[in-house]
């Protein structure tokens, strides 16, 4: 095979493109622009950390099945860690969102970063909701019978039956977490590709 032929291979072209957009020093940079100096920047990482905790505690709950936590004190404790990781996850994500808004962090070709962030937020709301209706307790009975009306009114209820425990559990532990993790990965990779957004330029006191 000639080098020209190798150059034309899909594999070669994909590798070159990936490398062009995201060389290792961009993927895992060891420096940041000097303006990256505020506590507000830690809320993105904190959101990732909370997501990791949500998933780890969820995996432990999955090991013994959906009813385990009602009868085991270990199970109940694991459920508690799952709940509190979720609360911290949303907490951090929302403060992160506020921060990115006030920095107008979509500037300079970063609009897709913002868009994937919002889609991740909405997906997370759905993931939490399906979790609440999969609890197999009073809370899930009430939430599902209430929420059905909102979802049915939009027509979505014809395929997304919140009263069907099996269906909700599948969405909660497979489909939506998968979507949330993939979206988060894309979101963070986009940040690495584009670099952290620079401050507004100000000329004689007023931003340009």
């Amino acid at each position: 095979m000639s080098t020209a032929e190798i150059e034309k291979q899909w594999t070669t072209r994909l590798r070159k493109r990936a490398h062009g957009h995201l060389p290792p020093e961009k993927l895992l940079p060891d420096t940041q622009p000097a303006y990256v100096s505020s506590w507000i920047y830690v809320f993105g990482v904190t959101t990732i950390a909370a997501l990791v905790m949500v998933i780890l505690s969820g995996i432990i709950l999955a090991l013994r099945g959906p009813q385990w936590w009602h009868s085991s004190s270990v199970g109940h404790f694991v459920n508690s860690t799952h709940l509190w990781s979720v609360e911290i996850f949303f907490f951090a994500m929302i403060v992160h969102l506020w921060g990115k808004f006030f920095m107008a962090a979509w500037r300079g070709g970063r609009s897709l970063t913002w868009v994937t962030g919002v889609v991740t937020f909405l997906t997370s709301v759905g993931t939490a909701f399906t979790g609440y209706v999969s609890q197999t307790n009073f809370d899930s009975q009430w939430i599902s019978t209430q929420a059905k009306d909102g979802i049915n009114a939009t027509g979505v209820g014809s395929i997304f039956n919140v009263l069907n425990l099996g269906q909700m559990l599948m969405w909660h532990i497979v489909l939506l977490p998968l979507a949330a993790v993939i979206l988060t990965a894309v979101h963070v990779l986009l940040v690495r590709v584009k670099g952290v957004v620079p401050p507004f330029e100000e000329t004689n006191g007023a931003s340009k």
Binding site: A49, S80, N152, S158, F200
Partner: protein
């Protein structure tokens, strides 16, 4: 080549300044350790809520009259489920947004016939009993109008319904097999057999609780418990959790609309609120592309605090 004018809310200036060491892997590790410790601390301190699920057995033992009245409503077609419309049945056109009747367009995909699924089928699954068997035969052999007469006669007496010695009594006459059916269904519910019958209608295995949940939600028992826990829609309940745990606080805007006019008094509130939230979510999603909105952060100047070291040189 003509250069486009610089748009401060869309374009970013090119940064030519200094770079400083920043260890993102160390930062991530610290974040995981700190969040992990915080999670364990909160879980140890506060735990998590787990109110036991209610059962039809518990409901019918706690309040047999409410159960019997609901069962009668299922037979009479007056419960929420019986009058729901899509996706359960065609009893109502469902909510609309102008000409858009989305639920109706989507159709009846989860058919529920309250007479058949909540009363007749469960009763038919009981072991042989002479009076029940006679009642079911009478019911099945009667015309729809005869059934309607029996049920509406029984319903007229339902406000004077009493419960004693394990019997539901209703003073109305010419009620055909209805008293037997209501009494047998109540006894079945109190034994726990109805909980089972409503799920095993699907066969041996099931993961689908649509029917028992709809039945339970048609009574007042579940809603009364929910009200005590401050979970009703009118109590901003969507955000709340049982006990005094934090709930889904992020649903504040969604639940807010239900509290205010015109939604609070609209029969199409669910669809209208969904539409408003869909629109607002779209605005948030497309914020970087919306002139005016995307200039807010530049005008508010909160960014000067975030990047104060940069601006202070």
């Amino acid at each position: 080549m003509k250069t486009k004018p610089f748009r401060p809310d869309v374009d970013a200036p090119e940064y030519k300044g200094a770079y400083a060491p920043y260890d993102i892997i160390k930062e991530g590790t610290i974040a995981i350790v700190v969040v992990g410790l915080l999670v364990v601390l909160l879980a140890t301190l506060f735990g998590s809520p787990d109110e036991r699920a209610i059962t039809i057995k518990a409901w019918s033992n706690a309040d047999p009259i409410d159960f019997a009245t609901t069962a009668l409503g299922e037979l009479n077609g007056t419960t929420i489920t019986a009058q729901y419309g899509a996706p359960y049945n065609t009893a109502a056109p469902g909510q609309n947004l102008g000409p858009l009747r989305l639920a109706q367009f989507a159709g009846v995909t989860i058919p529920v016939n309250t007479v058949r699924d909540f009363v007749i089928n469960p009763l038919s699954s009981l072991p042989y009993d002479r009076s029940l068997s006679a009642a079911l035969t009478a019911w099945k052999g009667a015309s729809a109008s005869q059934q309607g007469t029996w049920v509406s006669n029984y319903t007229k007496g339902a406000t004077k319904m009493t419960w004693s010695n394990g019997i539901i009594s209703d003073p109305a006459s010419n009620t055909g097999p209805v008293p037997t059916m209501i009494n047998k269904l109540t006894a079945m519910a109190r034994s726990g057999a109805l909980d089972q019958a409503l799920v095993t209608g699907n066969g041996f295995y099931t993961t689908n609780y649509t029917k028992p949940l709809l039945f339970v939600a048609d009574g007042t028992y579940l809603a009364n418990l929910a009200q005590k826990q401050h979970l009703l829609g009118s109590q901003w309940g969507m955000m709340n959790e049982t006990g005094s745990y934090p709930g889904q606080a992020w649903l504040w805007l969604y639940t807010f609309w239900y509290q205010v006019s015109p939604f609070s008094s609209s029969s199409n509130a669910d669809l209208q609120v969904s539409a408003v939230m869909g629109l607002l979510s779209l605005l948030l999603l497309l914020l970087p592309f919306i002139p005016g909105l995307r200039s807010i952060p530049r005008k508010l100047k909160v960014y000067r605090l975030i990047w104060r070291e940069y601006y202070n040189g």
